[in-house]
Symmetry: C2
Subunit: 787 residues, 2 copies
């Protein structure tokens, strides 16, 4: 069943009925002020840190789902009937409901008894506020006397305390209407918070700052007493639950259209709010800021535009996937409708991976982020697992094992991310940048990378594989125990990849000793993996604390894991024959109609030796769900093997567009990736969970652009090496690379997946498939002939 | 406005309309399994620890307020109409709604279109489960075909993770219907949790374990799709939001009555659930357990029964105050509708005070608790501020100052509580009991008390008063700073009281050196207080870190604080003239029509030197609210001064019964005390907050029984020294004391507040007003003549 469609021309996903299986949301954010909004107006806001600077409250487990939000009630003052054009929370049947999620904005429109309402929500680029711009149109033949009530429920700044310590927290915040500025101001009584303000360019004839006054006892957002009665109580909130509710009235003659802009934002000083309100009261300024926003997104997207025979592929790669990549780059796994922004902070592993696919479009931000991340590295090379954006201070999650206080993969991702950055930008200066360690000493970023390698060298287990620590990429593979001996084969492969990457970097720097050292180590670990981790048809996954193998045919459950197959190929550990063999095993055991699952068969009971992974019912999360993040690795592996059709098939299986027609099964938003899709060992096979914040975004983008389309940045140029579905006869990519534009047109007359016959740049035949670095801001015409 | 009345005969508070200003709740608990239930069926359950063993979920900030709960929907299958006899969540107008909160049980009844429903909720004494016993009666003239749906929403065991980490936690729990046992079982997939079960003695013809299946999309408890359609979906929950919903049908002929018992409980093994279900399926067993429960409460109450001319006083002292005392004794400040049971644990200070008023009725439990508490003392005499009931492990709250990691009052409360225990029980063996310190060494309880004294001796500030540490009794008086010099005059008074108490104990033990030492110290601190803390009309409250006085006429705000006046008298620090002077100042500056506020005038802005106390708007919490806990200290002080009318007036000001007719102002339950009543510096003057869990319970009970009625246990007997309102001409108290019953009849023919002319026991005139210890299980006739 379908709930909407892609409007690629406007770069919007259009939702055509409000009752989506889950809230389908959008992130409106300038990177600091962030407002999440659902297709029915639900959602919340925060500034920089969703834990300590939460502006709007959200009730995650609410019934009905998805409350509260940014609501505008419209009341026909002649009939006393009222509704919300966002459908929720009043939930009255509306005509022509439509929600358009665009890049950084959301438009919701609908009609009720002749009154058409349209709300545009967006966060301007520079100002820390959100705009709700309401347009009302009277399409009936009679005059309409309308009441307009706005509503937002404040969170008591600390999102933790807001849920935890009501007896205290509900006595520290104040919200009052300021009759001079004509705005509601909300802050902690002690002024230790920012000051939130809410204003409009309409004439406010009533307001409520106290939730219970506006809503009424035993009522909800569905039927606020103030709306029902058509007047506010002009309440202040001194303690309690502060809100921002205002009341405007409006007369609309037949066919007349009027607008009101509502502004919710935060400032340090009241005077700043005054200026901002003044600015955004003018419709023209709202318009200008909205156009600036659109322009910024267009500039972000244009750095990589693809035209393939597959419209869905184009729509994902040109619009939605890069959009999601920017969101994950901004918020990692910290804050969504499932990540509550309270506990997890910004992950080191996550954030490094999140840089991969925005590097070509946002190199400066990536540079900044990489250097920030390096600061939470310790002198011995390991890193904190998370950090908090407000302070930059590192931390570990609750479940970190105090005796193995590291994640075996975390620090290695830094090498991959920096290598990716170097290839994309050629900015070698970053390696010389001095960065602090947690302990306070400092060193160049290059030395940070070296220490990451050292940490793994110094933490090898009894079978010669890296000790798994608390866990590896798979947070739930918790193999620690009394011997502190759990080992990860996936990290061994990742280590091989990291060694190759740092060796290549050292080579560019002409650090010969390092090159030799890392090459030797790489060879050693590769040989070791092939000697001890090959299980006959695939690679094993790990060893438990007491030396039991995991991911082997000898296991009763969890015989084969996806990641040590894709990574065997991706990391170049596997010889050719084994590469095919292990990826064929993936195809045989792990591929389902909705994507590739993480392991087979699932654990049907709890295993104390494995812990986390066996705490999920079969088919959920790391226990054999289609954990989307690891699917693009299989796509990349298939590209390396030259099997373009399979890579493309895998791509399509989890592609959002392919979920659009089965939205009632998939449930989460069909325009972005989710963390997981329930596996076929579970009765809800196909149901996705935890949308938006997932490493899937970056990696699928990389799989599609770097491997399927095969346009990959390298130290000395842009490499062209596609691995496409055979049926494609051509494709075109406009790619920005180091201050030049490459207009790449690939022909595939022989319908091959792989292989290049000829490369021409501005009609000049090239020696090989590495396009030169031009750096001159010009556009180059690149013709590629496959064959 | 009145929402209900006291039914003293049945020991029930009867709520006659469901839309109370806040949920008016009851605690159903056997001390381990705890179910809170509101007058409309809202509330949640846990086992021992509300943080880590939460059974039912509650949404604290929900709209409408007070959801979810223990709901029973009734559906007329002939008309498809449905309602909930608890009013919430369907909120249909009901006839004859009534909620009777009794001791350990709640009965809710109502009628809708001729069908009368009555639900009895209770937790049996021995079994860890809750009973919902439903009785339906057809009072109409036609046959009724009814559908009965039960509903409970599970919390995902960890109450923190349930709110914090949805992307994970909503994938680890399972709920399934077991067709052999005919019950829903709910537990974590890894079986690390207990197993919750839900069953009934009705024939289950449908069920739902998955919330979304039962409720339906964009619906709520108000209109579940399963109820609307008259059938369940027989869903299982493998992950997601598990619930227990069952469907029974019932035919009721005119005037016929039928019953169904629903059972929700937890067990370690499924087999135990089977036995419990078997037991409680029998109506007779439910009846027996309910009678046992009532008997237990009667036994608890009968240890102190008063008959005074004031019926309200009797109802509070005989029923509701001791009932609340047991609740605070069980749950301290940990879990209510405002305390979310997540962060605070059981407070050391709180728990010691909570023993005071249950000591005569539950001496064994008090002994156990006192010894448990002593275990979180450190070798240097200080204590942890809180501990968690599941592990007994101590901790500090978040806001503890790392450089002054102690609360200056905590450890001293132990001396008061132990002294109270010794006087009540004469059980001197407790002092010899060896108890661990946090560090692992152990010592007798008496030595623990001595170390508490030592800690204060070793932490005296520059003005000679005890260093305040993180804070004192007033958690928000946060005077710490760079010099670590903040000082508390209240703790100095408390220290004097502790020194007197331990000196008296040492005297009984014949430890002469200790007696001398503590008496000298007591004299010293008393003199010091009188020399340096007297402000002319009252005692100052504290010194800030940089030596600024707090609670002095020289202050612009916060000139006078209640506690250093009441404690000056109570601790016997104040000489007679100053005693009257300071309590007259209290009367002049702090007494309002709804109770005595904590300070005057309130802080109108944040003071960095004071922190917490100035983070509240004036009139809330410690910033000049009527902080109820400190009102009984003023009552006691007035009794010491012999001003019975004033003591009684203060008692009545905050007495729950006095709030019954102004419930719309008071808002919280008018049968128990709340933590605070909004002060007269706030627009919501009179509105109470944070009901149930407050030290007010213990201390008001003590003030009323020990000081107003004047019946006080002492080391060698029961002292009689009333200080009553002059208008009372007599009163009678039946008091259990050390295994004898004292039937005390006091005559006051001269209408005095204080003074005793004659005491007779079994007609024998006594030498003084100290009734002897009899220990023989007999009842003694005590006649007292005031004059």
């Amino acid at each position: 069943m379908q709930y909407g469609y892609f409007d690629n021309k406007n770069k919007e996903y259009v939702i055509t009925r409000p009752d989506t299986p889950l809230p389908w949301i959008n992130y409106l954010s300038n990177g600091k002020y962030c407002a999440m909004v659902s297709n029915t107006g639900g959602g919340y806001s925060f500034y920089i840190d969703p834990r300590d600077q939460r502006i709007l409250r959200y009730r995650y487990n609410n019934l009905p789902i998805d409350r509260p939000g940014r609501y505008i009630y419209i009341r026909d003052n002649q009939t006393s009937e009222y509704w919300t054009p966002t459908w929720q929370p009043v939930i009255k049947k509306l005509d022509n409901y439509e929600c358009r999620h665009g890049l950084g904005y959301t438009k919701i429109s609908s009609s009720y008894k002749g009154v058409k309402a349209k709300i545009l929500y967006f966060v301007p680029l520079e100002d820390n506020l959100e705009i709700w711009s309401l347009t009302l149109q009277n399409n009936s033949s009679g005059k309409k006397e309308l009441g307009i009530f706005s509503y937002a429920e404040f969170c008591l700044w600390s999102a933790i305390a807001d849920q935890r310590d009501l007896q205290y927290i509900q006595n520290v915040a104040v919200a009052k209407y300021d009759h001079i500025v004509n705005a509601i101001f909300y802050h902690l009584f002690d002024l230790s918070s920012y000051i939130a303000f809410f204003a409009s360019n309409g004439k406010v004839i009533g307001y409520d700052c106290d939730r219970e006054s506006f809503i009424g006892l035993y009522r909800s957002e569905e039927n606020p007493v103030s709306v029902e009665n058509g007047k506010c109580k002009n309440s202040q909130a001194l303690g309690g639950n502060p809100i921002a509710a205002t009341y405007n009235s409006m007369t609309l003659n037949p066919h007349e259209t009027k607008r009101i802009v509502f502004i919710l934002g935060i400032v340090k000083e009241k005077s700043q709010a005054k200026q901002l309100i003044h600015k955004y009261k003018k419709f023209d300024n709202v318009e200008i800021e909205f156009l600036k926003l659109k322009e910024t997104w267009d500039n972000y997207l244009k750095k990589n535009i693809v035209e393939t025979p597959d419209e869905d592929f184009n729509s994902i790669i040109n619009i939605w996937n890069p959009y999601q990549c920017k969101t994950t780059f901004d918020w990692a796994r910290y804050v969504s409708f499932y990540e509550t922004g309270i506990g997890r902070g910004i992950g080191f592993r996550d954030s490094n991976q999140d840089t991969l696919a925005v590097c070509h479009s946002l190199p400066k931000l990536v540079r900044k982020r990489l250097l920030e991340l390096a600061k939470i590295q310790f002198e011995d090379g390991k890193v904190y697992h998370i950090y908090f954006p407000l302070t930059g201070k590192g931390d570990y999650p609750d479940y970190v094992n105090p005796r193995m206080k590291f994640f075996s993969d975390d620090h290695l991702w830094m090498i991959y991310a920096v290598s990716n950055y170097l290839k994309e930008t050629g900015d070698w200066s970053i390696l010389k940048h001095e960065v602090d360690y947690v302990e306070g000493s400092k060193d160049s970023l290059y030395d940070h990378l070296k220490r990451a390698i050292e940490f793994t060298i110094n933490h090898i287990g009894p079978h010669g594989f890296p000790l798994i620590g608390t866990a590896d990429w798979n947070d739930t593979l918790q193999l620690h125990g009394p011997n502190q001996n759990g080992e990860s084969v996936m990290v061994a492969m990742q280590f091989h990849k990291a060694l190759s990457d740092i060796s290549n970097i050292a080579n560019e720097l002409n650090f010969k000793a390092d090159v030799e050292k890392y090459n030797n180590l790489a060879k050693k670990i590769k040989d070791h993996i092939n000697k001890y981790a090959w299980d006959g048809q695939w690679y094993i996954r790990a060893y438990t604390d007491d030396g039991e193998v995991i991911g082997s045919k000898s296991n009763e459950e969890g015989k084969i894991f996806l990641n040590t197959q894709s990574w065997a190929v991706f990391s170049k550990v596997a010889p050719v024959d084994r590469s095919f063999q292990c990826m064929d095993s993936v195809r045989k055991y792990l591929v389902t109609k909705f994507g590739i699952k993480l392991l087979y068969p699932p654990y049907t009971r709890f295993y104390p030796k494995l812990k986390g992974i066996s705490t999920f019912p079969p088919g959920l999360k790391e226990n054999a769900s289609i954990f989307c993040h690891s699917n693009p690795w299989a796509e990349i592996a298939e590209c390396i093997l030259g099997r373009g059709d399979i890579a493309y098939e895998y791509f399509k299986k989890i592609a959002p567009t392919s979920k659009n027609k089965i939205a009632e099964i998939h449930q989460t938003e069909p325009y972005i990736y989710s963390q997981m899709i329930t596996g076929n060992d579970h009765p809800k096979f196909g149901a996705a969970k935890n949308s938006w914040l997932t490493g899937t975004a970056s990696w699928t983008m990389k799989a599609a652009t770097d491997w399927i389309l095969g346009i990959r940045s390298d130290f000395h140029g842009l490499k062209i090496n596609p691995c496409i579905p055979k049926k494609w006869d051509k494709f075109r990519v406009t790619r920005y690379f180091r201050n030049a534009i490459y207009d790449i047109q690939v022909q595939n007359p022989e319908h091959r997946s792989k292989g290049i016959k000829l490369v021409k740049v501005d009609n000049i035949i090239q020696e090989n498939n590495l396009l030169p670095v031009f750096k001159d801001g010009k556009k180059y015409d690149v013709k590629v002939l496959m064959g």
